[in-house]
Symmetry: C2
Subunit: 283 residues, 2 copies
Amino acid sequence: MSFADHIRACNSVDRARVVPLIAGGRRIGWLRHDNAAALAPYRDAFAVDGDAVRLVASGDADRVSAAVDAVVEALVAENRVPKWRNETFDVMARWGETPIFRLDRGAVPFFGTRAYGVHLNGCVREGGGLKLWIGRRAPDKRVSPNKLDNIVAGGIGNGHGIVATLYKEAAEEAAIPAPLIERAVPVGAVSYCMETELGIRDDVLFLYDLDLPADFVPRNRDGEIVEFELMAAEHVIERVRTSDDFKFNVNLVMLDFALRHGLIAVDDPEYLDVASGLHRPLD
Amino acid sequence: MSFADHIRACNSVDRARVVPLIAGGRRIGWLRHDNAAALAPYRDAFAVDGDAVRLVASGDADRVSAAVDAVVEALVAENRVPKWRNETFDVMARWGETPIFRLDRGAVPFFGTRAYGVHLNGCVREGGGLKLWIGRRAPDKRVSPNKLDNIVAGGIGNGHGIVATLYKEAAEEAAIPAPLIERAVPVGAVSYCMETELGIRDDVLFLYDLDLPADFVPRNRDGEIVEFELMAAEHVIERVRTSDDFKFNVNLVMLDFALRHGLIAVDDPEYLDVASGLHRPLD
């Protein structure tokens, strides 16, 4: 592995293998050709042609969501979408706009709608060294079981904002109390677009750094993380460079952290791959 | 003005208005159609067709540079390139590779070869507030006279590395002594590609942050900066948002700084424009 390998893995989408999902004249998703073809029978909700799929269900978010849910139910029965996760993500062309509909999280890659998450870097500074709290994902996680992860990370469910998601996940995943998480500093976002078995993951991760007291120990409450380890930040970056131990997108979060904190030398042959590869332009 | 306006201004290149400059099968520059056409007579150095311009001068960097210099001399005489600046930039497809030739800085936009620079954010932290030393460019500067600038910034001339350029410019532009500049932390790079009157600026700026002692006062030695002012970082960002007072590319450097230091709120409508707009992918 190399830094650039991780960046490439997260940006594997090939425009020749997808068609846009259009609503109101604007792109809201990417459908792989097989997934687009699978929508052809559901003419009440989608219009499929060779170049694009158009959302034709109309009305407010409740009505469009109901129409899309009926299609998702059929897709689950056809084994094209994994079973319902009963957690919905807002769908819109651009972050901050009024959602067009809500989509079950399990169906998001099928439609290739953009998903948003929050990742927190939990830092400890002592004796001049910079350390990071790193979690290990539970073996029963659907995505990336057993992989290393941020101290706190989660998708932004419908109706939840960035900050509310951060606070909720910080409490559930690492038992970080509110007075502590309030000190978290927003430090940007990484973005990537990859093909997976299910379809397209077009993700934006909002990033926070939090300096934690040396005596704070994270404690998982929701069963998603099985253990935490405090690692030297330099060791984390070397492990990113040489292994596949971290969840695919957490590699990008760690590289962004490393870059911002001067942990990658400017004469590293991959310096510009990292500096220019973590923020895929959002169209 | 808005944050996104500054990002758009620095990314104004339109692929329909340029052709690639090719050397050894790889792109090393972008030529506007008028500039490409102007190279047609110089068949010893360049081969022009409708889709591309190929470097045909061959040999080591000295020989190729001499062949290109002869063309640049003619272009200066034709008033297509401003007068010689007698400072040369290395030209190569990718940073870190062996240079193919050296090009006078004044001719870089004509050929649209990628240029590299170093910018330093000079920070002062006192009483909980974050401040930035901001310079004002001299009125006789060719590019962006009288505009606000970083405390230290400069192009990376041929044969000079990133660190050597930082040290040299820190001494010349702000009289920052070596023991102080050694503490500067590399924090990434911004990249953009814009059309200017002369051609295409395809730039990468390596960025550093430096925490300066409260009693340090920068002093310019090379006449390029006429005054320095210590400004509250929040005021700097608001001025970026609402004015055109900063040099075009320094707006991007300030936005990157603001993002990394939590100075832009996550609910700012332009948050993702900034987070995804400062790192144009390098092809």
